[in-house]
Symmetry: C2
Subunit: 334 residues, 2 copies
Amino acid sequence: MKSNVTLADVAAGAGVSIATASRALSGKPRVSREMVDRVRAVATELGYRVDPIARALRDGSSRLVGMIVPVIGIPFFSQLIDAVEEELGRAGFELLLADSHGFVDEEVRRLRVLGDRRVDGILIIASDRTASMPSIVNLPDDIAVVAVDRATDKPISDFVGVDNELGIELIFEHLAEQGVTRVGFAGTDDATTNGVERWQSFHRLARRHGMEVGATFRGEFSLESGVAAADHIVDAGPLPDAIVSGSDQIAVGVISRLRERGLDVPKDVLVTGFDGGELSRVYWPTLTTVVQPTSSIAADAVSLLMGRMAGGTSAYRRNRLAPELQLGGSTSRA
Amino acid sequence: MKSNVTLADVAAGAGVSIATASRALSGKPRVSREMVDRVRAVATELGYRVDPIARALRDGSSRLVGMIVPVIGIPFFSQLIDAVEEELGRAGFELLLADSHGFVDEEVRRLRVLGDRRVDGILIIASDRTASMPSIVNLPDDIAVVAVDRATDKPISDFVGVDNELGIELIFEHLAEQGVTRVGFAGTDDATTNGVERWQSFHRLARRHGMEVGATFRGEFSLESGVAAADHIVDAGPLPDAIVSGSDQIAVGVISRLRERGLDVPKDVLVTGFDGGELSRVYWPTLTTVVQPTSSIAADAVSLLMGRMAGGTSAYRRNRLAPELQLGGSTSRA
DNA sequence: CTGAAAGCGCTTACAG
DNA sequence: CTGAAAGCGCTTACAG
């Protein structure tokens, strides 16, 4: 089968110029009603569909949105990609997906390729809150950008993500109710704003609740980091009452490792997560965790991007969406 | 910043025609050595990069590969997407990702859009082994297609996926060693070849090992289906010695539900999975499961696609890659 | 309201 | 070995 029906074919079929055919099809004002109908009918009959490539070359707009994520396969990210793809489809855009593997130089390369592709906009989960900035700033002016999930140090684009402070606050309120007085931390380093904010919120809230801070560990958003954190915290001396983790994956790593070392969750120590993905609900014990409003984040991100693409020039926004607390077996003393 | 360096700029800078500039840059034969060097130098200096849109319009080739999956967010699929994106990047292609949500009509629409985009090739995880065929067959002749993970009823394209029969065989050999004599099944319906093959292999191997087939349940590749399967199998009467599941997610659903109903895995019944994703390693108990060779599947799929794109016209291949068995706590009687 | 023409940036026969 | 020109399929000023 060949999809070779061109605008010229439609024009010929309707007995008009391709200029008129183009205007009729795209709903431009200065065309007569009957002309529009006639052209439309022929187009439908012939199965004509506008060539996005030709249109992109002419208009400079591709109706393509690029998205760069650190790792496609991480559950929280794939969940976000899923939601973004859905929103984009609704708005008539296609998704060009790229993986930076968490490396700034790969990110730079990918960003450049997306720029060359004339994407109308880019959604980026920055690999580093500082080092990722230059390549974002250097993007062509006509490409809209929205940072998702992870913000940059300085406001160089719109941003949508979860309210980390609130998330950690929900965790602490719950832990306080459980009678926790000594907390450990298994989070991530300063490479991302999520790492920084969850870490700072942890300390701020421990203080506010009058809790003592025990051993802390900062690595990456991975299971392995959770395992390392558990080792570090156990080796550091007396176990805290609870370990606050920077993600569900970390929490699961922590719990698995504790179990291997003969410690039980929640009997010996409570553990909390962050993200609220499927893992948190199927794991044993289920996790008490902060549930990210993934769909809302995706919807907001796409909507901000559309606004920028439409030429919006308001001040950069930093939208922090409220998460919810999910209670699970990992903190239930019962 | 503006990325407006065009071939004309390079040509002007080097003092040659754009035709020569084009040939020099693309390494075409009939250009003098020094010309090539001069043009290349100017191009580098100016930061010139070929415009993929213009090239695509001219050549009909976009260096874009489309991929359609039923659900981006399902772990096994996102893992596959991850691997595919990696392979594609290595080959100099970008990934246009689309989600069919498992509906044939959405799939048809997405397929059409990808065709319009002039993607050079398409990787598809078909939503239905029968109903997905027409839209694949109707793709423009110049778009290469490779089916991944799920085959179609008839060979209408190359295919790469796991060897289901072998996977189930590995499971049965292990179960036989565990002294299992009565097996239940928690799998999926006939919509996919994986559903069909795992179901048929299950029966074939139960017979071969002289095992009795107990209650069986066929739903979807989801946790919820696992939950429903557990209920069905428990309600059906005496528990089998083992329940063979069609995916890790199903297995986890089965185990969770059994636990809710006061039954222990592996003490009361053994349970096996299929896929071998992270979930199988972090769940408690860890799963005995069939580990898919995900990276190899992705590499093979991309390689077959490249072959087709290069004009290969050999007979359609059906590549079945060997999986491995992973032993876990879900079948350890110890 | 409609048409002829330019032009988006490239590649490749066609001449020389 | 190099250049002038056509053409990929569209949209949009510019005329009429």
